[in-house]
């Protein structure tokens, strides 16, 4: 309890202190994604409605204005773009996190009534704020004078991550003195959310003050934050869901003293301040300058254990019944085989019975970890199980200045400069020794490999064998510095039936790691600074719109740009050492889209086709590698992807207050090459790591560049097919909406590790057939579906490489309804009531995402393991029936 209070109070003091010392500072935001999460997990804890990527409610675009809300239950990403390709601006300042590229909506969580005044921008729209990403941008105006005068109380109840929410907003409007003030206090809470074992505890504050100095100058200051503590849901395998009899089984919690305790708890607080100066030079010229400061404190807990202790995760594969024999193999899962091996079913059902005997057996056994620690210490040992807290803190200074000039009736332009300096601080602390008292800061896996007295075992050679207590830093500690400067310009001309938009930017990025520990596995390149990596980027976009009449609009948009890689992907093993990834280059993005928008009487709509090509991307995954029992980094460079598809939004007004909508997309987003790969294990020194990144040609014996066979893999975690049929009706202050949505082609997050060239099975050709085609008689279609590399027997060249098939989830329907009533009261007061119900039919079988386990199906002997990892991916399911009741009272 004390800890939480301390954190909040300290943050408040810090935020106000920062303001006192530097009134012109503000922020930059981040969702502080923990580096150990896979892509699929990144957004798992955010509210579904907040995870929608890209532009929010681009009002001029009937497709983009709808899909964010419509498809949010399935965590839909527009065009399957990652959030890093969308920008978020507040009062003229971009708030994307420079390390991760993304904007984390948790930063403005619980302050919806303060951030409602927002505008969605497509990548090609002209605007006075700055450049949108290829996925668009959201620009929020929170200047105090823009708030409607008065007060508002909003109360909400739901069965989602939280169960209750309250917000109170008050705004003075623009006072005669030229001042305007607005503020919000909100709170979201759940002792237990809709997912068992989770909780939610979040306060929000937002304060805005503005001074209209004169008709030319105005200063606005906003500061906000949302200290949040929340417990997370984890994905699990279908087998675990079956045993627990629920697709909402959460392996992250367990009983301690009979009380539910979650192992993964996030603490997040990102106090931010933005000072904006609006200078209206004259009626045609305007200069908007915004400066911001943010100091974010993000941490996420996780269980840790030494190399000898048993994996405490309840759904660890050795605890699963299917670890006894390969239930997926028809040759084994049949009556004859099982009759010959009766012990297999005995053990299988022993585990099934254990899982089903009690709920506690399905969850983390906290009491057992305490017991083991105490026993081990009593015997002269150390704590074996612990809970660590991984911190990703950040300090950001940002500045954006944009000058806009309306040249005449037809033309206008905006030029600007933005600067951002970000310091990411990454370390972990001991959250809980779980009944133990002694822990030495050594790497247990390295101790197993090199010996406990080896240099390699030390996490910090400058403080060898340091004893760690609660809240002490251990394991790793480093800073990442990222600086970015960007100059940009936008130009728009309207001439007759034509509209032209041109935008361009040039930017420079530097990044550097500073190690604060001297790691024993990398003694020469872990402590101190890495040296700066520098990247120059830039690009431009051209938009053409032709309006032959008021009823038809044709648009063609083209773009090309080159962006620096993200810092989070740029270091080989950032927790351990300073080395940059090999082949680190800019990512090149080429975009093209064409659209037709029309209005024919009561029928209106827009249809868009698009093509986007990403070249030379860099992606890194970091995960606990079950195969090697080590924390592993796998970085892909030279990643090429194609995203293309069709989007449509059609509307037919049956009457003036009753309409039918059809909105949907059919998209493709896939990897189109086999990227280069670089693997690093945290517990290994440089010479051992060298051996990991080799791929020996089985024919010639020569080493080949290691790559991931990813060609044909789809982008995951979003439906590539999403269609909605909706009805809208409003009358006398009531409104009704019903949407029947169909989702399909959601793909699992593929494991790069399983598709490494040196992990995939290989086959060598056996001559040629009559037509001169290669013969591979020992390979069948099933083998190829599991992934394979085929070699020419003569010179060893790769004839073809097959990636293991990527699982596509079953499609399905979801029905969402909402009903609302707006009641106007006397003296300008009003009440709004809204009830939205998602998944009315309670479809509990729609997967929103999932990821493959990073482990292959075979022993080194070539014998298949009993547990088939390739058949046991971990999944997330869309929420079951859920409702959100919102009541707002304006007074």
């Amino acid at each position: 309890m004390k800890k939480g209070v301390k954190l909040t109070a300290a943050a408040l003091l810090m935020a106000s202190g920062a303001w006192a010392q530097a009134p012109a500072d503000t922020l930059q935001l981040s969702d502080n994604t923990d580096f150990t999460f896979t892509e699929s997990q990144l957004d798992e804890d955010n509210d579904a409605a907040q995870t929608v990527s890209t532009i929010v409610g681009a009002k001029s675009d009937p497709y983009n204005s709808e899909v964010g809300y419509l498809f949010s239950p399935m965590r839909f990403k527009v065009r399957a773009y990652d959030n890093q390709y969308s920008n978020y601006y507040m009062n003229g300042l971009q708030l994307n996190d420079l390390e991760l590229g993304r904007f984390g909506y948790s930063m403005v969580g619980g302050m919806n009534d303060a951030t409602r005044n927002q505008e969605g921008l497509s990548a090609y729209d002209y605007n006075r704020t700055g450049l949108a990403g290829v996925g668009g941008a959201t620009s929020v105006n929170t200047r105090a004078s823009q708030f409607a005068q008065g007060s508002k109380l909003t109360l909400s109840g739901c069965n989602r991550n939280y169960v209750a929410r309250g917000m109170f907003t008050h705004a003075t409007g623009l006072l005669p003195s030229g001042w305007a003030f607005a503020g919000l206090v909100g709170y979201r809470w759940a002792n237990e959310g809709v997912i068992e074992g989770t909780f939610y505890n979040s306060l929000s504050y937002f304060l805005s003050a503005e001074k209209r100095i004169n008709e030319h100058h105005s200063l606005s200051l906003v500061t906000f934050g949302s200290p949040t503590e929340r417990a997370q849901q984890g994905a699990s395998t279908e087998e675990a869901y079956w045993l627990a009899n629920s697709h909402y089984y959460n392996p992250n919690w367990g009983y301690q003293n009979g009380e539910k305790r979650n192992a993964r708890v996030v603490n997040d607080f990102e106090p931010t301040a933005i000072l904006t100066w609006d200078w209206k030079i004259d009626d045609t010229k305007k200069l908007t300058t915004a400066a911001g400061f943010k100091y974010s404190m993000y941490s996420s807990t996780a269980l840790g254990w030494s190399g000898d202790a048993y994996d405490p995760r309840p759904d660890y594969y050795k605890n699963m019944p299917s670890s006894i024999f390969d239930v997926w193999d028809p040759a084994k899962n049949n009556p004859d085989y099982l009759a010959q091996n009766p012990f297999l079913l005995e053990q299988y059902y022993d585990l099934v019975d254990y899982w089903r005997a009690s709920e506690a057996n399905q969850q983390i056994n906290w009491d057992r970890m305490y017991f083991v620690n105490r026993q081990n210490e009593a015997a002269g040992g150390e704590t074996l199980y612990y809970q660590e807290r991984r911190h990703n803190d950040q300090m950001v200074f940002a500045l954006n200045s944009a000058f806009s000039h309306d040249l005449n009736r037809w033309g206008k332009y905006t030029v600007g400069l933005s600067l951002n300096s970000t310091k990411g601080m990454h370390y972990k602390t001991m959250a809980d020794l779980l009944g133990g008292t002694t822990y030495t800061d050594i790497d247990k896996f390295a101790a197993n490999d090199y010996g406990i007295n080896s240099i390699e075992a030390q996490n910090d050679l400058r403080n060898p064998n340091r004893q760690i207590g609660v809240d002490d830093k251990f394991g790793y500690n480093y800073n990442i510095f990222v600086n970015k400067a960007r100059a940009y310009g936008l130009y728009e001309v309207n001439r007759g039936k034509m509209n032209y938009r041109l935008s361009a930017f040039a930017e420079g990025t530097t990044m550097e790691r500073e190690g604060l520990m001297q790691n024993g596995r990398a003694p020469e390149n872990s402590y101190g600074k890495s040296g700066q990596a520098k990247f120059l980027g830039g690009g431009g976009r051209l938009g053409l719109t032709y309006r032959p009449s008021g009823a038809h609009i044709l648009s063609l948009n083209l773009g090309a740009e080159s962006n620096a890689p993200l810092a989070r992907n740029s270091f080989v093993a950032p927790r351990m050492q300073n080395n940059f990834v090999d082949n680190l280059t800019n990512e090149d993005i080429y975009t093209a889209e064409a659209s037709y928008q029309f209005r024919l009487g009561d029928f209106s709509g827009k249809v868009t086709g698009y093509y986007t090509r990403f070249n030379n991307g860099v992606e890194q995954t970091a995960f606990y590698n079950d195969q090697e029992e080590r924390f592993t980094y796998l970085t892909m460079t030279n990643v090429n992807r194609e995203h293309y598809g069709v989007e449509a939004a059609l509307k037919y007004n049956l009457t003036s207050n009753f309409s039918v909508n059809l909105t949907g997309t059919y998209a493709e987003a896939q990897y189109v090459n086999n990227p280069l790969a670089q693997v690093a294990y945290e517990g290994m020194n440089a010479s051992t790591l060298k051996t990991l990144n080799t791929w020996k040609n089985p024919v010639t014996g020569q080493q080949m560049p290691l790559c991931v066979v990813a060609d044909g893999m789809r982008v995951n975690g979003t439906p590539l097919t999403a269609i909605s049929l909706g009805l809208n009706y409003n009358v006398n202050g009531w409104f009704f909406e019903a949407n029947l949505n169909y989702y399909d082609r959601v793909y699992v997050d593929f494991s790069e590790y399983r598709r490494l060239g040196n992990v995939l099975p290989y086959y060598v050709s056996e001559g040629f057939d009559d037509k001169g085609n290669y013969l591979f008689q020992n390979v069948n279609a099933d083998d190829l579906a599991k992934g394979a590399v085929l070699y020419d027997a003569q010179d060893g060249h790769i004839v073809s490489a097959y990636s293991a098939e990527q699982e596509k989830f079953d499609g399905g329907f979801m029905l969402d309804l909402s009903i609302g009533r707006y009641i106007r009261l006397a003296k300008g007061k009003s009440i709004s009531i809204n009830l939205s119900v998602q998944n009315v039919t309670n479809n509990r079988n729609l997967r929103t995402g999932g990821y493959e386990q990073n482990r292959d199906d075979f022993y080194n002997t070539g014998v298949a393991k009993a547990y088939t990892f390739s058949k046991n991916s971990k999944y997330y399911y869309a929420n079951a029936f859920n409702a959100f009741l919102n009541v707002g009272f304006k007074f």
């Binding site: 304060l207 200290p227 005995e346 393991k865």
Partner: protein, 287 residues
Amino acid sequence: MALAAGLMLSLNSCMDDYDEPNTDGYLITSPESLGEVNYSIAELKNDNASLFSQTNAFEQVKEDKIIEGVVAANDCGGNLYQTLLIRHIDESKPEGDADRDQAIVLGVKHTWLTPYFQLGQRVKVNLKGLYIGCYSKLPKIGQPYYTSSGNLRLGPVLLQLCATNVELVGQPNPDCAECQPIALSPEWLRATANRNYLNYPQLVSVTGTIQEADGEAIFAPESLQDAGYGVDRTLVNSVNNTKVTIRTSTQNDIAFTVMPEGEHTYTGLLSYYSNWQIQLRSVSDIQ
């Protein structure tokens, strides 16, 4: 601001705060008595002589046969894997009687068994439903499984079955008779008649010089590991040149310990396959 601060202090308190559990009496084994001991390790071996004489074989026990013994070796040093040596000395039997002091391995499918099964802990095991037999000639209680080479072998018992088939009796006493190794003489080691399942597994000590010791070499460097992730060293007795293999896995404290030069006494779990072999429990087994 004051309002916000006050609200934060009052509302945003930590929810992730728990009382530490009392783990006195925590068990993964049966909390209830399994019943009276009605069988012994010696009887088990004698009644199944043909089974225990084989290299790899097993059969399931169908009746409630409850044996007892003391944990004389476990994975305290990380060298023994999923292995508990259960040893019982029947004080009613005379010294020299083969049935007086017998031991068998209880395999348990779990890493780090030591906290649950400390050295000197007396246990009862109800064999009903479990399997008995040999793994590479080593007498064992376990359950069958297919190895990574695809061979059917007698493997460890599911940990979950400890809750129904194993009971802890009293508190551990590491000074008990069962935890004292039997010192094997060079003559005993040489005698071929001793190479039978009645003499192993057992907690023993052997004195000799490690052939490979040079003052620098460690017990089990990864570069020398075999398919079983272990390294064999040869302990030579100076009296009659008998040789005993010291087998060590590559990932534990013993593995990285420099092999001492000269004559020393080594304590560990004795087995026999093509030669006598011992596996040390921990570094402290080197004297």
